[in-house]
């Protein structure tokens, strides 16, 4: 009896995830022409771990066909996300909307791998933790600041 119950709960979860995926993926993402949606996990080879975010990890992958490097974020769909999908999907949609600006790390594509949502991003480089800023010339700091403000102004213009 217990086993049967577990099975039912598990199936319902899968159904919810499938429904959520259809709602999000087919209704919203597939309408955006700039995003590639027909990738699968087999098109990529995992290279190394890059970092950990609030809802999943980011790894460096290499596309087998082209040899290009991509940073792919893996978001595992958990109960928390099923309860409130907007916490992940709003962020993703926001980033897709502002993609294309030279100072914003853009999303190239997204696909589903089992219960994981995979976001393919441009490989942007290293983050700024641990940099010795005393050795960086002032003019470079100002250049970075204008680039940051330009990205932020772009987001604000688009209401994000």
């Amino acid at each position: 009896m217990f086993k049967l119950n577990l099975k039912i709960i598990f199936n319902i979860n899968i159904l919810i995830i499938n429904r959520m995926w259809e709602e999000f993926f087919d209704d919203k993402i597939k309408k955006i022409n700039t995003i590639k949606t027909d990738w699968t996990i087999n098109d990529f080879e995992k290279s190394k771990f890059l970092g950990k975010g609030a809802y999943g990890s980011v790894d460096l992958y290499i596309e087998k066909a082209t040899g290009l490097e991509y940073a792919i974020k893996t978001i595992t769909i958990t109960d928390k996300i099923i309860d409130d999908p907007s916490i992940v999907f709003t962020e993703l949609l926001n980033q897709i909307v502002v993609s294309g600006h030279p100072n914003i790390c853009s999303i190239v594509g997204t696909f589903r791998d089992g219960n994981n949502l995979m976001c393919v991003q441009d490989m942007c480089g290293s983050n700024m933790f641990g940099i010795d800023f005393t050795k960086i010339p002032t003019k470079v700091k100002v250049k970075w600041m204008t680039e940051l403000l330009s990205a932020v102004a772009h987001c604000h213009k688009l209401g994000i």
Binding site: G53, A54, I87, T90, E91, L92, N94, Q95, V98, P102, N103, I104, C105, Q121, D122, C124, G125, S126, N127, M128, F129, G130, I131, D132, F133, K135, I136, P137, T138, K139, V140, K141, V142, K143, W144, M145, T146, E147, L148, L149, S150, A151, V152, A153, C155, H156, K157, I160
Partner: protein, 155 residues
């Protein structure tokens, strides 16, 4: 800081969106980088575009003086929140920033969100100041890129 990436040619790129608008995440961020949270978020949890401008201002100051105005004073979360809410940034707090940029930084870090400059206007002012100061030379950029390479290796 974690949201800014530097590419191999020295361009800054912004990443990781949406969490700033999530009020649930605020306490976590207070622990990590207290100064990046604008005072109005501590006092009223009001998130707006002005809070992003505040974070940009702190980012700029951080590049010149890693110990920003409140670091090292934090004891408990509630005390820290009180300190940020009661603190109005003045010219002594940003002593390491070059004089040319001090007035703009003060506008970015204006205490009340309604008096804070918009990102667009700040960008224009920064570009004007940059024009006076002269733009980046290749040698400067190479120095910066080498510094980044070293820090990546040591990490």
């Amino acid at each position: 800081m974690g949201n800014c990436l530097i590419t191999s040619d020295g361009t800054l790129k912004l990443t990781d969106f949406g969490f700033s608008a999530n009020v649930d995440n605020v306490p976590k961020k207070i622990l990590g980088t207290p100064n990046y949270i604008a005072p109005e978020i501590y006092s009223s949890k009001r998130v707006s575009s002005a809070a992003d401008v505040w974070a940009c201002g702190v980012f700029f100051v951080f590049m010149f003086q890693p110990a920003i105005f409140l670091q090292g004073k934090k004891t408990t979360l509630s005390l820290l929140m009180k300190e940020v809410v009661n603190h109005i940034v003045d010219i002594d707090d940003i002593h390491a920033v070059p004089d040319l940029y001090k007035p703009i930084v003060l506008e970015l870090l204006a205490y009340h969100r309604l008096f804070r400059i918009s990102a667009k206007d700040a960008l224009i002012k920064f570009k004007e100041a940059e024009a006076i100061d002269g733009s980046v030379k290749k040698a400067d950029m190479n120095v910066a890129l080498n510094t980044i390479k070293k820090s990546v290796k040591s990490a």
